[in-house]
């Protein structure tokens, strides 16, 4: 990404399956203020296929998804 996004919170959800990873995402987002950004790392497969969509359905914005060297995904979410 061209511009730098300030990350306000990070959550590593490697090894955390569905739907507990979404529970963690909601807990971390609940701690943030509107407009702040959560960086969450999700496993490949069902986690990356489901969590970003669920987060968007709740009104938050998915800013970026990037696959890391170990195959997991780094996702940036801006709280609604």
């Amino acid at each position: 990404m061209a511009k730098t996004v300030v990350v306000d919170a990070e959550k590593n959800c490697r090894g955390v399956g569905c739907p507990l990873n979404m529970v963690y995402a909601k807990v971390e987002l609940a701690k943030l203020k509107s407009g702040q950004v959560l960086e969450i790392v999700l496993d490949d497969g069902p986690p990356i296929n489901n969590v970003p969509g669920s987060v968007q359905k709740e009104g938050h914005e998915v800013l970026d998804k990037k696959q890391l060297e170990d195959g997991s995904w780094q996702v940036l979410i801006r709280k609604a």
Partner: protein, 267 residues
Amino acid sequence: MRDFSLEQLERYSRHILLQDVGVEGQEKLLDAKVLVVGAGGLGCPVALYLAAAGVGTIGIVDNDTVEISNLQRQIAHFTKDIDVPKVESAKEKMLAINPELEIRTYQLMLVADNIRDIIRDYDFVIDGTDNFPTKFLVNDACVMEKIPFSHGGILRFDGQTMTVVPGESSCYRCTFRSPPPPDAVPTCSQAGVLGAIAGMLGTIQATEALKFITGAGSLLTDTLLSFDAKTMNFRKVQLKKQDNCPLCGQSPTITELVDAEQAVCSL
């Protein structure tokens, strides 16, 4: 925000995942205090579901001990609990489901002299009583103390429920002015009741409590919901707060609680 343990996150995950409940809603549930009046057909499913939901403080009132004829519908009580106080039997099952809750038991009869002191500490009251005088007593006390509550009743194959938010919505007396004379209604032990409808109605009442606490959805206020399990017809009747209600109207005539004569009936 409260620090949820991993066990709590997993236990309440299906609530947290709901957009209308979420982390904030589950925190409200853990902080909430609900009083269940009656540990019978309605009170049992209500108490179990509220405990499972993580309502942090649950009070339960009942003066009776478990009898074998209760077991057909009062699902918190087991055969081994015969002769055990119903509040103790219910508490044991609630804590077995969810050990982190505070369960307060009141083994007593709710009467005009004690009800206001007991309900005052709670955010929401569930009326799971089995007789009209106590239903009116719960209504009157909740309106006087401004505590929202769910009214519920079952008989044979029929159930009815409404939710009252004092000061905002119609109360039980707005629609039903006074208890019927003791000999006018069959007692339930004479009339019978299909066991499962206690679960049907009780779980509706528990749902209303959870909605009230979390703010999800809209309540059964100004609405009498009734069903006939024989046909499975559900009906909603719109009610209106009555200016001439003797309790919550403009010039109330009921300003203090009195005990009425009870036709005792064991639902």
